[in-house]
Every structure is written in C-alpha cells, then in structure tokens.
Amino acid sequence: MTLMTKFLGTGAALALTAGAALADPALIYDLGGKFDKSFNEAAFMGAEEYAAETGGSYKDIELQSEAQREQALRRFAEAGFNPVVTTGFSMSSPISSVAADYPDTKFVTIDGYVDPSEHPNVLSILFSEHEGSYLTGVLAALASDTGTVGFIGGMDIPLIRKFACGYAQGVLATNPDATVISNMTGTTPAAWNDPVKGTELASAQISQGADVIFAAAGGTGIGVLQAAADADILSVGVDSNQNHLHPGKVLTSMLKRVDVAVRESMAQGADLETGVMMLGLAENGVGYALDDNNADLITAEMKSAVDAAREQIIAGEVTVHDYSSDDSCPALSF
C-alpha cells in the first residue's frame, strides 16, 4: 500500500512539474466541436499554424457538456498552460469565475466578453461581425435579381442578431427597395444542429421570393446551403470559408478570422497583453471570401462596390450599426 502511495505521489509530482515547465498554450473548443467546418475548426487551424510556425506545441480539448467548461479551464490552468485560449461566447462566464484563482495564467475568450477591470488577466477578443455581414449584404443585394434576400440565424441570441442587422444594413444601403426576410431557427442550442429546419426555412424564404440567403446557423446552415443549391439560388456561408461546399452556388462567406486571433494570442505566450480587443475590417478580423469556387459569381462591378464599402467603413465614412450596442436594429425588426 505504501509503495503504491509512493508511486502515485511521484507520478503526480512528475506530472505537475512537467506541466509547469512547459508553459505551452492550451485551446478549449466550444460545444460545436473541433471539426465543425466553421468557427471551432478555424480556431484549430490557427493553433496548427502556430505550431507549424514556431515549432511549439499546444494542448486542446473538445467540450462534451456545459459542466466541463469550468473543469477544463481549471485543469489547464493548474497544469501550467499559458495562455488558455477559449472559443465561444459561453466561455466568458466560466472564465469570470475561474480567472481570479489563477492570477498568473492568461485567459483568452474569443467571442466572449469579460470585464478587464475585474479580471486583469483576461483578454476578450471580439469581432465586428456587423461590418463583415454588411459586406456580404452589399454582395447579396447586387447578386439578387428579385430584390428579396434572406437571412437565417441559428439560436436567437444577440450575436446572431448582430449578423442579421449588419447584413440588412448592407443590403438596404445598396438597394433601398430591397426586402430582407429574417428567420431564426430556434431558441435552444438544438437550433445550431437542425439542418431539416434550415431547409424548411430556406424553402419558405425562397417561396417568398428570396434568391440569396445568408445562413449564420452552424450545422443548420448546411441544410440552408443545400436547399439553396437544390433550388438553384445563391447562399452565403459563415465563419469559415464555406464556398467549397457547393461550388458556384455559394455567393461568398462571411469570414471571421478566428484562426488569426488564436494564432496571435498563442504566439504572444505568457506575455499576452490583456484587455479587450476588437477585430474589425481594418484589422482584417472579418471579411468576405473570394476564391476559385465563387470567382464567376462575383463580377468586377460587385467586387469594386464591396471593396469601396470596405474602404468607407475603415475610413469611418460609413458607420455600421452594432446590434449589441443598444439591442436594436434600424434596418430590421426581430
């Protein structure tokens, strides 16, 4: 028995020292899963880039349930990983409750917000999704023949309304007579993984005249893109570049450079500057995707129009209203 205890003790001590000596970064994916072809996969790509560039290594974990959030944070912090990078807005409240216990560990919440005055060791990285969505709205309005475009969101949360609001503003700025139909899939997390509902929503919007549909809905969006491709109309992907899912049928994708955010915060290591960082068009944190799959869909005029809009937003000549700033949208009612 004593021998056993000794072994266990040595093992634990070894594990602890090994962890503390490394100070590698760690990455926690949100419930969508590492290979969601979207948000979390972009984070994974960023971490892989970091590993390839610096030759360093990192640890990552896929959460299986809500209960694991805090547990995973504490495990990584106690093992000496620094910084601990997390994706998804749901991680911000577990970080708030954990951060004070590990003052030497830097936490990064991508898409979440933690008050920097209360927790000085947390970096909140936010994206100006409304600006990126504005650009896809400009493209959608130019690509639409019917003057009606659609938006399909996943779970009805302020973040998704921010997408919808920016998109609607882009559409209406380009074509003031256009109609924007907006639908949310549901109010529970199941709304992120219901492609059947996505398809039905898309066909309902198509029958109301929509010929470009922007899906910001995780796995549900797969159904939307499929329905759009089947009905021979255009769709717009989200987060990662989804143009390749249906080549020639996906107009563009609203890119959120989660990979850049992850790579940069990992590269800075333990010296990471904390606070709040906003990644917008100017920082190339958001944008629209242009590749071989949609090159034929984006005409030269569309490209110049959308690039002009981009310049105007960066220069501050055009301000895109942020839904989350006052919970209202001038271009769309929910």
Partner: protein
C-alpha cells in the same frame, strides 16, 4: 393568405410530419406490445447516420436505406435484449440507446470521413429525389384541385408515400389480424397471452423489430430524403415529439396520423411566420414551438378525453412459477 402560400405551408407540413409519423407508428407498435420506448430519437439518429454513410460510400440510396433500417433494428434488438430478455428498466434502456446513438454516430462518422462527425454531401443517386406523380403536369391547370394535386400531393420522395401508406397498414395489422390482436393483448395482459400458449417474449420482440424498421425509414428519410447527408444530432428532438404525438393520439394509428400532421403544421407555421399577428395580439414563434408539448400535457392531464397507456406497458413480464 392566398392558395399558393397555403399550399406551401401544407407542403412543408407534409415534409415535417413524415419523420414524426414514421417514428410515432414505430413507438405505437412497441408500446402497444408493452415495451415503452423513449429510444426513438436514438434509433432515428443511428438510421440517419447509417443511411447517409452507406449511401455516400456506395452511391446508392437504396443500399443506404437498407443500412439505415439495419442500424435501427440493431438498436431495437439491444433495447429488446435489455428490457424483454433481461427484464431491465425500459426507460433506462431507452435513454441508453439515445446516448449510444448520439456518441457512436459522431465517432464513426469522424473516423470514416474526417469531416467533424458529418458525412459528405450526397449527390445524384445517393439521395431520394422527389417523384412526380402521373398527370401532375397536365392537371396543374385545373383550378384549386390542380395545384393541390401537383404541388401538395405530388413531388415528395417515395418515403413520404410509404409513411402515409403505413397508417392504414398499421391499423389493419393491429386491429384486423391475429398477430395484431395478440400484440395488443400482450400489452394489456401478458398473463392471458401466456396462458393461451403464445410466447410473450416472441410477440414483444416482433413488435420491437417493427419499431426498428419504421425508425429506420424515419431516419433514412431525414438524412437522404430531406437532407443530403448526416449532421450530428440532426434528429433535433423529433423522437420526443413523436412520443408526444403518440400520447396525443392515445396509441391509435389513424389518430397518430392526425396528431403528427397537427404537430407538423404547427412547426411549418412557426417556420413560415416568425411572429403571428392576430388582431392586436402578437403570438411569438416560441409559442408555436412549445404547443405540441403543451397539448400533450393537456391530454395527459385528462382535460380532453383520457390517454390510457397499454396496461402492462413498462413492466417486464415475469412468468409465475
């Protein structure tokens, strides 16, 4: 609301009601024989995955359908083994089936395709295409009836017609055949059936297998009829809505049809109109989503008729010594 919009909503209703109907009938057979089944969700999910994966690998949706049915029947057999042979708790076994399917599908999909628990998009012969019924084109000019036939009745995938044909077939099997009589008897008083010299376990296994077959059709329809591939957790609670519909229908096939159509209609309306304005009142979309469950609770509470489950339901049969 004009006729075209009405037809589109009803068309959507039919599509949304079909998986519910198949799963509801599956539960009907199982529960009528005295085996409660909350594993409908898991069986559908397993079938959805197996059908999409095999259709993607072989390029044939029919082989995919067989694989889907096979997967659901296999899950059913696990449920049967646990709850009939080993007399385990049927609810716990059902929950286990749900967890098993939820985890296994993603795991195998990731291993096979490496796309994050998703199958590749099915193309061409890998999915069920909508079929146009004869004369749909010719009759579409006829006022009212023409569009109803051409848009609403025609233009669904074959599994939709199979599902609707299952309703009279289930009724006939349950209420007009010897097997059906015994099946209902085994759910109400297995002792009587046993006394008559008929195998209780045999009948219950039969019912559970039919349940697997129907769940297989439902799952395959989701993944290869409505969608072009499998996405994790894509059943999104339809198995539970089907259970609610089963209670709402008071365990009867024709009522099950109406219950599923009603629940499908509620979903279709919720998807088509985000908020419904009736006079001065605005009904938020969430009310529509919650209505199936609210209605089920009302029925269960006995306000509208009384839902009496099969008497021996949920109890494993132990022979008296």
């Amino acid at each position: 609301m004009d006729l075209l919009t009405l037809l589109q909503v009803l068309d959507s209703t039919v599509r949304l009601a079909t998986p519910l109907l198949l799963a509801c009938l599956a539960g009907l057979f199982s529960e009528r024989s005295g085996v409660f089944d909350i594993g409908l969700e898991g069986k559908m999910l397993a079938a959805a995955f197996a059908s999409a994966a095999v259709a993607a690998l072989t390029g044939s949706v029919w082989i995919g359908l067989l694989a889907g049915i096979g997967a659901a029947v296999f899950m059913s057999l696990i449920h049967g083994l646990a709850s009939i042979t080993f007399r385990g708790n049927q609810l716990i076994s059902g929950v286990a089936i749900n967890f098993l399917a939820s985890g296994l599908t993603v795991l195998i999909a990731q291993d096979l395709f490496g796309q994050g628990g998703r199958t590749p998009s099915l193309i061409g012969a890998g999915r069920f295409e909508p079929i146009t019924l004869p004369f749909a084109e010719a009759l579409s000019g006829v006022p009212v009836l023409g569009p109803i036939y051409a848009d609403l009745i025609s233009g669904h995938s074959i599994l939709v017609y199979v599902a609707f044909a299952m309703v009279p077939l289930s009724w006939w099997v349950l209420f007009r055949t010897r097997f059906g009589l015994r099946l209902r008897a085994v759910g109400d008083s297995p002792e009587a059936v046993d006394t008559a010299g008929v195998s209780v376990a045999g009948l219950r296994y039969g019912a559970v297998l039919i349940c697997g077959l129907l769940c297989g059709l439902a799952g395959a329809y989701l993944a290869t009829g409505l969608q072009a591939g499998f996405v994790r957790e894509m059943t999104a609670g339809r198995g539970y809505i089907a259970l609610a519909a089963l209670i709402f229908a008071k365990w009867r096939p024709v009522h099950a049809l109406w219950a599923c159509l009603l629940f499908g209609l509620l979903q279709a309306v919720a998807l088509r109109y985000q908020n419904i304005h009736l006079g001065g009142i605005t009904i938020p979309v969430q009310v529509m989503d919650a209505l199936p469950y609210i209605l089920t609770v009302i029925i269960l509470a006995g306000f509208v008729g009384k839902a009496i489950p099969p008497r021996a339901g949920g109890e494993p049969y132990v022979k008296e010594r």
